[in-house]
């Protein structure tokens, strides 16, 4: 039993090393001289720490610009998506009305809809609004709620005892006050999970920015990195990896601060059987 247990630990640890290696290599290359990793024999560590790469990378692509663009979009999506999804989820959980369950089923169904199907009409629609080439197509839809966030928050609100709401009603509160005064403050944890996921997915998004952004100065980090690579035939990998590392740092912060909540959040979402 002991031996088997140790075997299990060794295998899992080896897999963990495989999972970590790409990130290790990204950081190592980002800190090294370009020659270090372009020739045999391989070096697993840079010959000397070359922090200049980071300075060069930041200037090589307009990193700060892309960073601020991405941050702006992600924060708008996070704010709008979390607020509206919470509002909508209340209507799906704490008020009984005919058609509620049907509409909720349709809501879940939309999660199956591939963006490839809706993207062309959306593009034409946003063009009519005059939004192409602006950030609006990337964040305005979030203010109307997102299906999985509504789903997640609804799951949580269902478990808030109705007595709490009934007694507030007796005290003369209407549903809007209840949502604002009782539900929002008592669901900080699930709201945080929803907010984090919205942030991460918006931060990572590639397809949306690729379609809707025109001007290079408005690119997001994901888009900027991809174009940086393809535009320069002989890619300067040490600079690219420095930019990639910088792009990953905010995600790493989210991970360090909140991975436990994110994992808990995924656990909740899978509660549908």
């Amino acid at each position: 039993m002991e031996v088997k247990d140790n075997m299990r630990k060794i295998v899992l640890a080896l897999v963990a090393l495989v999972f970590l290696f790409p990130f290790y290599w990204m950081v190592v290359v980002s800190l090294g001289n370009p020659e270090d990793f372009m020739k045999v024999p391989i070096r697993y560590l840079p010959s000397k720490l070359n922090l200049r790469n980071y300075l060069d990378a930041v200037n090589y692509i307009p990193f700060l610009r892309y960073f601020l663009n991405t941050l702006y979009i992600s924060l708008m999506v996070t704010f709008g998506g979390t607020l509206s999804s919470s509002f909508v989820a209340y209507g799906f959980s704490k008020i009984k009305w005919p058609g509620r369950d049907l509409l909720f089923l349709i809501t879940l169904g939309t999660m199956m809809l591939p963006p490839a199907v809706t993207i062309i009409p959306l593009y034409m629609e946003f063009r009519k609004f005059g939004w192409i080439g602006s950030f609006k197509p990337l964040w305005v839809p979030a203010f109307f709620g997102s299906a999985w966030a509504i789903f997640m928050l609804r799951q949580f609100y269902m478990n808030i005892p109705n007595e709490l709401i009934d007694s507030a009603k007796v005290d003369g509160a209407n549903h809007f006050m209840i949502w604002y005064k009782i539900i929002l403050p008592s669901s900080k944890a699930p709201l945080a999970v929803v907010a984090l996921f919205q942030f991460v997915y918006s931060w990572k998004n590639f397809f949306g920015p690729l379609i809707f952004l025109r001007d290079q100065s408005m690119y997001t980090l994901s888009l900027g990195l991809a174009f940086f690579q393809s535009r320069h035939g002989g890619t300067e990998w040490h600079l690219l990896m420095a930019a990639a590392t910088l792009t990953t740092i905010p995600t790493l912060l989210v991970f360090i601060l909140a991975s436990r909540y994110l994992i808990e959040g995924i656990r909740l979402t899978s509660g549908i059987k």
Binding site: M38, W97, V117, Q229, L262
Partner: protein, 294 residues
């Protein structure tokens, strides 16, 4: 009277979603079907041409190629993803709630938070045929490694491979399902003398089957839409060997500006996803165990 007021209040609460649903999902969904029956581009008004786009697509070699590539990604990638995710979850489950378990779980989960573009670029560098670390290492061991993303044989499998780094979500879901398998059932089977392997196949798997089904469907839907990795790494090459359905839609719509044609391809993609989901549900309907409900 009170009921009507409740209904009105409820509708105000869900109204943002109803508007969003109509504007960003329902309308585009049907509109794209209409577009698929037309000849149109951003400067030319749509002109109805019946099902011509569809019949042209079915004669388009590139469409068949992208369909086949996408099916490869689904048929090879999804089972592999799920096997790895479930194996990791079972491994972690055996560690109980220890510090080690939490750290390993965090490491397996982390890539989920990393932009696909970053992951693609790092693997592009590591698998570079001239100076990539993987090939340098393999050559040192005396192998003669292929050029990976430049090889028509290896490009597809390597994209499947790098997507294995994104199994974190599925793994977390499996892990929580494993934690919810009632201990009494496991203990009873131990007393009955069932071997661990038999216990796994006869008890654990059926108990977590709803979650397997959920992960299978989500992964299938996601993989059918695979785009970012091949777009960034290979641009669909070499020789279109990693060209996918979503790339076909994207290229026709936003590079060739043939939006009617692209819409038809998009609807065919949607049909494939829909049919696959139904097929999985049907195949599972007899096998999935719902704990006595329904």
């Amino acid at each position: 009277m009170r009921k009507r007021r409740e209904l009105l209040t409820a509708l105000i609460f869900v109204s943002p979603w109803i508007v969003g649903l109509l504007l960003f999902q329902v309308y585009p969904f049907f509109k794209s079907f209409y577009y698929s029956l037309t000849d149109f581009n951003p400067i030319k008004r749509p002109e109805l041409i019946g099902f011509k786009n569809y019949s042209w697509i079915l004669q388009d070699k590139l469409f068949w190629k992208s369909l086949w590539n996408t099916i490869f990604f689904v048929l090879i990638g999804v089972p592999l993803d799920q096997t790895v995710a479930l194996s990791l979850a079972v491994g972690l489950h055996g560690l109980r709630k220890s510090r080690l378990m939490r750290s390993l779980r965090g490491i397996y989960f982390f890539p989920i938070l990393v932009p696909e573009v970053v992951m693609s670029l790092v693997w592009m560098l590591m698998l570079n045929s001239e100076f990539g670390i993987v090939n340098q290492f393999l050559e040192k061991l005396g192998f003669n490694p292929p050029a990976w993303f430049l090889s028509t044989l290896w490009a597809k499998p390597m994209i499947v491979f790098l997507r294995l780094f994104f199994v974190g979500t599925a793994m977390v879901i499996y892990l929580s399902a494993l934690n919810e398998v009632p201990k009494e059932i496991i203990e009873a089977s131990v007393i009955d003398g069932a071997s661990p392997t038999r216990r796994f196949w006869k008890i654990t798997i059926p108990m977590i089957s709803p979650v397997i089904l959920f992960n299978l469907i989500m992964d299938t839907i996601g993989t059918f839409q695979i785009f970012t990795e091949p777009y960034v790494i290979t641009k669909g090459g070499p020789a279109r060997s990693t060209y996918t359905l979503t790339m076909f839609v994207y290229t026709n719509a936003f590079e060739h500006l043939d939006m009617g044609y692209a819409s038809a391809a998009a609807w065919l993609t949607f049909s494939m996803i829909f049919i696959s989901t139904l097929a999985i549900l049907y195949a599972a309907s007899k096998k999935v165990y719902y704990g006595g409900e329904r």
